[in-house]
């Protein structure tokens, strides 16, 4: 291999040949895709920052709602966690002159809003659309942007925990300081605790990556009466670690998403992110099929929540009347 490299005098020729070939291939595919665009279907592009259970659920709901519609042709684009890729993808959508863009997660929605003026945009999974600068208020969309947001029942879950374990006072929360969602969730919980004067204290610890979770947890676990798993990408990705540590120390652990309860957290009032995906698909249909303007469509707020309980909660000494309507999950 070495002498191939060293004695390759005519590098320039090889490089230009490779470049020309690549460009020719891309050009060919480009013209292919243009033909594709001329079909009768609506072309829709969906972009998301990174794979994540909540995003997967939303996409699943989106797909399910469109199962029987054959008029939509949807492209799914993953940005692999890099904001700069989102820019490339969104500009690509603009270049291909799609009929609508669906943007999941906050950065994707913000870039789409900034880059695209004449294509309708439906955002999904943005926890605070007004703060993110996407819309002026939740009653109506703004210019070419509308979408869905969710109101996590975190405080309701905490209240339920207090009912089930009345002597619980100190609740530990781990969160990742770089996630916009987690910070606003905690602010909300604190405000509501103060407003309702609930006799609970939230002990917060922030981490920057998964490696720091175990030391952070160990440093606080002896003072805790319970652990609350908020919906934070970093924390949820080491769910098993959290669950094992809690059970080793015999501390109740409860969550704010259904997936964690399936895996062993005790209970939650969980949102179903599928609902948000379904709502996004319906908004999309209203824009494309019924020809409504995005600015006339109000933001859909997902606030339907369901009580899910893990089987292991029944081992605790609790008032079973509270949970008699719950869906019991777990092995």
């Amino acid at each position: 291999m070495n002498h191939f490299v060293y004695y390759m005098k005519n590098r320039s020729i090889i490089i230009s040949i490779v470049l020309v070939l690549v460009l020719a291939l891309l050009w060919y595919l480009n013209s292919e895709s243009n033909n594709y665009n001329q079909s009768e279907k609506f072309q829709v592009g969906l972009v998301y920052l990174v794979k994540h259970p909540a995003i997967d659920q939303a996409i699943e709901g989106f797909k399910e709602e469109l199962k029987n519609d054959t008029v939509f042709n949807i492209e799914y684009a993953n940005a692999f966690g890099e904001v700069k890729n989102v820019n490339t993808i969104v500009n690509g959508f603009k270049q291909k002159d799609l009929d609508l863009i669906v943007a999941l997660t906050t950065p994707c929605a913000q870039i789409s809003e900034q880059m695209v003026d004449n294509i309708p945009i439906v955002f999904v999974g943005v926890s605070d659309p007004v703060e993110a600068g996407l819309v002026k208020d939740l009653n109506n969309g703004f210019e070419n942007v509308t979408g869905t947001t969710s109101k996590d029942p975190n405080y309701e879950t905490l209240e339920l925990a207090k009912k089930l374990f009345p002597e619980m006072k100190r609740v530990g929360v781990l969160y990742s300081s770089s996630e916009a969602n987690s910070v606003s969730i905690l602010e909300n919980i604190d405000n509501k605790i103060a407003a309702n004067s609930l006799d609970v204290e939230i002990i917060k610890k922030s981490v920057t990556n998964t490696i720091e979770i175990l030391p952070a947890l160990n440093s606080m676990i002896n003072d805790l009466d319970a652990i609350f798993l908020i919906n934070d990408n970093t924390i949820i990705s080491s769910l098993d670690l959290m669950l094992n540590t809690a059970s080793d120390n015999e501390i109740p652990i409860f969550a704010s998403d259904i997936e964690s309860v399936n895996k062993g957290a005790l209970f939650t009032y969980g949102l179903n992110y599928k609902d948000e995906g379904v709502a996004a698909a319906q908004i999309m249909k209203r824009i494309l099929v019924e020809n409504k303007k995005p600015s006339e469509i109000p933001i859909y707020i997902n606030s339907k929540y369901y009580l899910h309980v893990n089987k292991s909660l029944l081992n605790y000494d609790i008032d079973s009347n509270i949970i008699d309507k719950a869906k019991v999950v777990g092995e």
């Binding site: 490089i15 870039i111 900034q114 916009a180 910070v183």
Partner: protein, 281 residues
């Protein structure tokens, strides 16, 4: 030609960042891997300055200065505390994680008054031209020659009793200032800032540098500074084509990381001797 507009915009935004990485890795031989977070730092501190003084140019100047301080800090870790070069970058990288969050106490903020992406391009072009001209003048000066020497032959600097600590400090400072300004331009263009906006930039920059190095073989040394933006443009053009058009037909979006890897391997093979300099210290 519509197809070239996005890669051109991206090249304009990121070429200063790539230039900073080039200065660090090729000229100074200082593997400062804090690039990703310095970029986020520039982006988020720009929004912070812009909110407090409402002037684009002044804010970019302030970002340049604070980026310089970050770079100076990294170089001092090496020259004063004798911490290994690679570790200095890692330390700055992790410190910036916390500092970036301190600006607003939240990870994502949107710009108060929106500048449309077309308008922002004018500003970006001006800043690019000013800084690249500034750099080409600087590199011709005595200081610039010392910066070039410190990576290639530090023994000579000692021979002439040049203050190598200061040369390294200024070189590192300017390189990181360029990276931070590049981050600031991103938040102007995108209309928001996020602490994770710089993720993956170091790797992309190195890839763009490898392409630029390929071109540099054919040009005299005085033009090298202007070839960096060209390399960035070619890299982003290829990526844009792959991301946008390969979703149909053979490949899908998940394959594009693979393809960008293959592109880098191709360029690496054809300029083996020069490219390997980038990653050997």
């Amino acid at each position: 030609m519509n197809i070239f507009s996005t890669p051109l915009n991206e090249a304009l935004i990121y070429s200063l960042c790539v230039y900073g990485v080039y200065l660090l890795f090729r000229q100074l031989r200082f593997p400062d891997i804090s690039t990703d977070n310095v970029f986020s730092f520039g982006s988020i501190s720009f929004v912070f300055f812009f909110i407090s003084n409402d002037s684009l140019i002044l804010s970019i100047l302030l970002v340049f200065l604070s980026g310089f301080l970050v770079g100076a800090f990294t170089s001092l870790l090496y020259s004063k505390f004798k911490i290994p070069k690679l570790l200095c970058g890692v330390i700055t990288y992790s410190i910036l994680f916390s500092i970036n969050l301190k600006f607003f106490n939240k990870p994502n903020v949107s710009m108060p008054s929106r500048i449309s992406s077309e308008e922002s391009i004018v500003l970006i072009v001006i800043i690019n031209v000013v800084l690249i001209v500034f750099m080409s003048i600087l590199l011709k000066s005595k200081l610039g020659k010392s910066i070039n020497t410190i990576g290639n032959n530090p023994a000579i600097l000692k021979e002439f009793r040049a203050p190598s600590t200061w040369v390294l400090l200024i070189g590192c400072g300017i390189a990181n200032a360029l990276i931070a300004v590049s981050g600031a331009l991103t938040s102007v263009h995108f209309g928001f800032s996020d602490v994770s906006i710089g993720v993956g930039l170091l790797i992309n920059s190195v890839a763009a540098i490898i392409i630029s190095e390929n071109l540099m073989i054919y040009f005299p040394k005085r033009y090298h500074i202007f070839l960096i933006p060209v390399g960035v443009f070619i890299y982003h053009l290829l990526l844009f084509m792959v991301i946008t058009y390969l979703s149909f037909g053979l490949l899908d979006y998940t394959d594009y990381k693979l393809i960008s890897g293959v592109i880098i391997i191709l360029f690496f093979l054809t300029s083996y001797k020069r490219a390997k300099d980038i990653i050997s210290f």
